[in-house]
Symmetry: C2
Subunit: 267 residues, 2 copies
Amino acid sequence: MPVEPTPIPRHHPLLTEFRRAFKSGPPLVAIEGPRLIGEAIRSGFRVERALFSRTGLEHHGDKLLPQFSKHTTAAVADDGPFAAAMDAEHPQGVAALVRFTPAALAEAFGKEGAVPLLLAAAEMQDPGNLGTLIRAADAFGATGFVALADTVSPFNPKALRASAGSIFHLPVVAKVTAAELIAACRARNVALLATAARASGNDPNEALSGLDRPVCIVIGQEGAGVPRELLRAAGRTIAIPMQRSIESLNAGAAGAILLYEAARQRR
Amino acid sequence: MPVEPTPIPRHHPLLTEFRRAFKSGPPLVAIEGPRLIGEAIRSGFRVERALFSRTGLEHHGDKLLPQFSKHTTAAVADDGPFAAAMDAEHPQGVAALVRFTPAALAEAFGKEGAVPLLLAAAEMQDPGNLGTLIRAADAFGATGFVALADTVSPFNPKALRASAGSIFHLPVVAKVTAAELIAACRARNVALLATAARASGNDPNEALSGLDRPVCIVIGQEGAGVPRELLRAAGRTIAIPMQRSIESLNAGAAGAILLYEAARQRR
């Protein structure tokens, strides 16, 4: 059992530490809300510091406090200063600093014997979409998720919220260059697939075939699509068959469909 | 060809009219950005008023002005007052008021001979997710989209942006009560399917079977799920089979997967 949370005043350095952690990311990642914190603990991550608002302590203290280890420092601040240290517009009364080491690229290819299924995001700027993709990668059994170098950080607080805890479930690799990803796929005989808005005259029944093989699906920002370097290196361009030709699907929705289809073919 | 846009001062009533239209919705819907406006015109909707910022007129005037009919009143305001009348955080320099009559519920079942495929959103509060669903409904050939009474308006500016113009392509019905939807489906022998986070012990290969028949898929807010009245009336509860058990997918992603799967089965 941790000690009772220590009350801290309005200008305490811990508030600054949280404000900074929301911007900086690993090795200390700031997460908000009882669900995300619970998910981190259940997944074996170590909560270094917990911060409650007065109201948040009343609501979530009984449930959360017993889950912290003796290494967790818990504090409580007044609602106003607490909210000012948070990223969310409507904070949920509790936040935590979690020690988090991003995965190495090799881990994203899965454990020995797994058929690699990677989703790689290129030049994606919307953290909500990125979090949605990480959540879908988790749901559909992807072996790993790769955020390429020019993509918004998966440890961005909005991406973490949208991932709904899935960030703690599968290897998530950040700041990977296109060259590194291409080399890693080649070394392991994993097919690099680039997604496009339109298939090049494919039979719709064939458009997404072969996702049961070892694959790394690269998805780009809507509109701009997959960057040229990756397009050139890709073994194949795939497109989701559509009934009506629209410019593109939302990137989060498109990635979720591709992962669903891969899982379907792998059953 | 419309006349040259009329310069308007800082406190012109047209600015107020736009500000209000972003909040109120049909019959006059305010839309922003050259793409969305172009999509409305191509889809046969009538632009009543167009408003440019000075900078926006330089960028988009040559392309957009010739597309307006003689019924369009075009105006130009300074960048500051223009931005203040917009909804988007980063407005794109042009907006329009479009006359838009929401579809009647009957239209969402498709034209004579079509196999109805409806997506109905229940208690969904995120306009971005709603727009993503409308875009997916368009892409995968749904006959219509229904926003149930307690769902955010599909004519909300954020939903319109996320729909990327798809709102102009298929019948979108708003403010439908659960009772109305249930009755309309029964009258047409359209199966009402409620989505849930988890299937009730189904074989994953059977979990989503039968989407090639006339169906109305009801999707709820993440977490809360489909409201009880609709759950009770539903002929069947469906769930997307997942590899790892997560609480739920993002609602936009889940709806897009169900529509993709329906389109796949209908090929």
